[in-house]
C-alpha cells in the first residue's frame, strides 16, 4: 500500500510504500489509552507484475474498546460486532448504523465512515476493479484526518504522526535520474534522501484520483517511521501494537 502523511505544520506531504506479502496485518493506529486500534490486512494482486507481487489493503479492522465494538471492512461486507451481537451490511447498502457513540455510515459502493463520538472519524474507500482484470483486485483505502483526540502515546504506521515530527527539507537537486528531483530531509535525527513524487488522493475522484505531490521516502519509509515496517505486523485484525 501507498502511504501519504500530510504534516500540517510543515505543510509537506511525505510518502512511502510498504512492500510486504498477502495476509500480513499492518498496524495503522494503536492508541491503548483511548482504546482505539486500526489494522489493515494485505491482499495480493492476482499475479506478479515484472516479478513483483503488488499488495493492497483487502480488509480493515477497527476496534473501539470503550464500546466493545469491532468493525471489519472487507471489499464485500461491513461487519459490526458488539459483544456477541453481529450485524452485517454490504457495500450495496446506503445505511447509517448508530451504536450509541459509534456511527458507521455506508455510502453504496463508495465509502464507509466510522465516527466515534462525533469527533474521531475514519473514511474507508472501496476501489472496485473490473472483475475479470488479469492482475488487479478490489482493495480499500483509508483516510484519517489529523486530530488531537488521540493520546500522546498513539502509534502505528499512521498513528505515530498524529503528533507531527519536525522535518527539514533542504538541498534540492536533480536526482541520479535527472527526471526525478531529490532533496535531503532531516527527521527524527536522521538525514534521508527523498525524491519528489506524485501520489493519489481518491476521495474526490474515486477513479482517477487527485494528484498529491510529495517527498518520497525509500526503503519502506525507513528513517521516517519509527523502527522497521515489520515492527508494525500484528497477529489479529483488532490487535494493539506491542511497542518495545
Amino acid at each position: 500500500p501507498h502511504f501519504i502523511i500530510y504534516l500540517p505544520k510543515s505543510q509537506e506531504n511525505i510518502c512511502f510504500n510498504i512492500d510486504s506479502e498477502p495476509g500480513k496485518i499492518l498496524n495503522l493506529v494503536s492508541d491503548p489509552e483511548s482504546g482505539v486500534s486500526v489494522n489493515g490486512q494485505l491482499i495480493g494482486a492476482k499475479k506478479p507484475q515484472k516479478g513483483k507481487l503488488h499488495t493492497y489493503f483487502g480488509t480493515l479492522g477497527f476496534y473501539i474498546r470503550s464500546e466493545d465494538t469491532k468493525i471489519e471492512i472487507t471489499t464485500e461486507t461491513i461487519t459490526l460486532s458488539r459483544g456477541s451481537h453481529t450485524s452485517i451490511l454490504s457495500w450495496f447498502d446506503t445505511a447509517h448504523v448508530a451504536y450509541q457513540r459509534v456511527l458507521v455510515s455506508v455510502k453504496k459502493e463508495k465509502t464507509v465512515t466510522v465516527t466515534l463520538n462525533k469527533e474521531l472519524s475514519f473514511s474507508v474507500l472501496l476501489h472496485r476493479v473490473w472483475k475479470k482484470h488479469p492482475i488487479n483486485v478490489d482493495f480499500l483505502g483509508i483516510y484519517i484526518p489529523p486530530t488531537s483526540k488521540f493520546s500522546p502515546n498513539a502509534h502505528g504506521l499512521i498513528g505515530q504522526f498524529m503528533h507531527e515530527p519536525s522535518v527539514r527539507i533542504f538541498n534540492g537537486r536533480p536526482g541520479r535520474d535527472p527526471k526525478k528531483p531529490e532533496a535531503s530531509m532531516e527527521v527524527k535525527g536522521h538525514t534521508l534522501t527523498v525524491t519528489r513524487g506524485l501520489q493519489k488522493d481518491y476521495r474526490t475522484d474515486i477513479v482517477f484520483g487527485t494528484d498529491v505531490p510529495c517527498w518520497f521516502v525509500h526503503n519502506s519509509g525507513k528513517g521516517f517511521i519509527d523502527g522497521h515496517y515489520k515492527d508494525y505486523f500484528v497477529p489479529h485484525l483488532y490487535s494493539f501494537l506491542k511497542r518495545p
Binding site: E12, A98, R196, C214
Partner: protein, 648 residues
Amino acid sequence: SLPGESGEEREDVDQVTLYSYKVQSTITSRMANTIIQSKLVNNSPQPQNVVFDVEIPKGAFISNFSMTIDGTTFTSSIKEKTVGRALYSQARAKGKTAGLVRSKALDMENFQTEVNVLPGAKVQFELHYQEVKWRKLGSYEHRLHLKPGRLAKHLEVDVWIIEPQGLRFLHVPDTFEGHFDGVPVVLKGPQKAHVSFKPTVAQQRKCSNCSETAVDGQLVVMYDVNREEKAGELEVFNGYFVHFFAPDNLEPIPKNILFVIDVSGSMWGVKMKQTVEAMKTILDDLRAEDHFSVVDFNHNIRTWRNDLVSATKTQIADAKRYIEKIQPNGGTNINEALLRAIFILNEANNMGLLDPNSVSLIILVSDGDPTVGELKLSKIQKNVKQNIQDNVSLFSLGIGFDVDYDFLKRLSNENRGIAQRIYGNQDTSSQLKKFYNQVSTPLLRNVQFNYPHTSVTDVTQNSFHNYFGGSEIVVAGKFDPDKLKQIQSIITATSANTELVLETLAQMDDLEEFLSKDKHADPDFTEKLWAYLTINQLLAERSLAPTAATKRRITKTILQMSLEHHIVTPLTSMVIENDAGDERMLADSPPQDHSCCAGALYYGEKVPSNGIPSWANAAPTPVVPMRLAGAPVLESTPPPHVMRVEND
C-alpha cells in the same frame, strides 16, 4: 342383450368428456395472476349437470369469470353487492348457479359454478384471480389447486415467475405422493423461471386401467429472490411503486414471550394433544437470551411462573413438564387470561427487568368464545387495549371454526399483531409451530418507511412494530412520473442494539426494459399490488373503525377501488350474465375473515414520512486536503513538471 349382461365389465363410459383443463399462472414480483380454463362436452343422451369447482387461496381477488355454453357466452362484471343482487333477482339463470363458498381446506375457498348442459353441448369456463405471494420462513409458496374431476385429454399447467431481483432458488416439491415424479418440468434463468406440468391421459390415471384421475391436489412452487441491499428492493413502474423489505444478516433481538393457552373443556382431545406437542417444540426453540412464561386458562387463570424467566434448559424442561400435565376442562375466560399476561409483562417492564432492546410478544391460543368472566367482546378488546403497553404485540391463533375469528383479528390488529386461523386436526401442531417460527426471530423494531418526496402519495401502511426474520414487509404507493425521475426511500429501524437508517433509490426506467422483454410479465403488477394492499388494509381498518362515519368513509373507498380495479371483495359481487342479459348468476365473496392480506405477518400503521434522522446526518468525514495544490517544484527542470515515483 344389453351390453354388460354377458357378465363382462361394461366400462363406465364417462357421460361428460373433459376436453382440456388449463392453468396459467404468472408471478411478476410477487404479484400472481392465475387463469383456470376448462372445456367439457356432454356426450350422454340426457342433459347433465356440470360443475366447475376451483379452489383459490383465501385473500385472493377474483377479477374475471367467463363461460360459454353451447355457443352462448356469459361474461362477468363487478357490481356493488346490493346492485349485483338486484340484477340477479331480475333474471335468475335457469339451471345455472355460481358462487364462492368457504372451503374446508386450510386458507382456501371455493369458486363453484354449476350448469345444466344439453346432450352433445359444449361448455367452457374461465376464471381469473390475483393474489400477492407473501414471504414466509424464507420463501414464497405458490399453490395451485388442481381438481379437474376427471381425466382430461389436455391437462396443462404453466407457471411463469418473473423476479427482477433474481431468483435465489426455485423448487417444486412432490405433493402427489410420487405419482407424478418427473412430470413437472422446471426451466430456471437468473430472473425468470417456467414450471410446466402436463401429464398425459395415461399419467393422469390413478392406475393403469383406472378411469379416475389422480390429479387432485396442489401443485406447489417454492422460491426466494436475491437480496443485495438491506434497504430492500424498490420497484417503480407506471406511476406506482412497491417496496420489498426483507433484510437478513442481522442479530436476533431478545424476546419476552408469554404463551396464553386455552385449556377449557372444548380443547380436550386432539386439539390439546397437538397444542402440547407444538408447545414442547416451541419452548425448545427459545434462545438463551429470551424470557418467557406460560399462562393456561379455562374458567380459572393459572401461570407456570408468575413472572418472566430466562429460557435456560432447566426452566424450559420444567415448563414442558407443566404443559404436559394440563387437563382441559371448564369454561373460557379470555379476558382475565390476557390481562394476567399483560400484567406479568407490565410488572417486569416497570421493574426494569426487560432488556430495553427486547421485543415483547403475547401469543394467545384459543378455540372458542369467552364463556366465563367478561363475555362482551368489545369490552375485552377495550380492556386489552387499555392495559397493554405500546411495546407489546399480541398474536392470536384461533383453532377450529367455533372461535370468533373476526374478534381475534380485531384484538390482534389493534395491538400490533395479527391473527391466524389454525385448523383443529392432525395438522394443528405443525400449523402452530409454523406460525411460531414466523415470529420467533425478531430482527428489527419500530420499522418506518419514508418516501420524502412530496409527489409520492397514497402510501400503504408504512410503520411496523417488528420485522421478523424469514418474512418480508411490503409497502406500496403512487408517484407522479412527470415530477420524479427517481424515488428515494429512507427506512429507520432499531436492531438488536443499534439504530439503523437504510436508504435506497430507484430510477423510473429501471424496470422498463426488463418488463418489456417478457411477454408473460404483468406491466400492471405495481398498480395491482398497490390496490391489493390498499384494499386489504382498508378492510382491516374498517373492522376497527371507531365510528360509523369512519366506517362509511372507508367502505366508500373500498367499494370505489374494488369497482375501479375490477375485483371481487367483501363489498362487491360478480354478476355473470349472457349477452341478452336475461340470464344472470351471482358470485359473492363468502362471509370470510378477510384479515388484512391473508398470509401477511404484519398489520402496520400509516405515519407521515420523515427525512433522515439528525444523528445519521453526521457530517461526513471532513475531506481535509493533503496540500493537494501543486507543491512548488524544487527545480524547474524544463518543462516544469513533477515525476511519479516508482510503485505508483
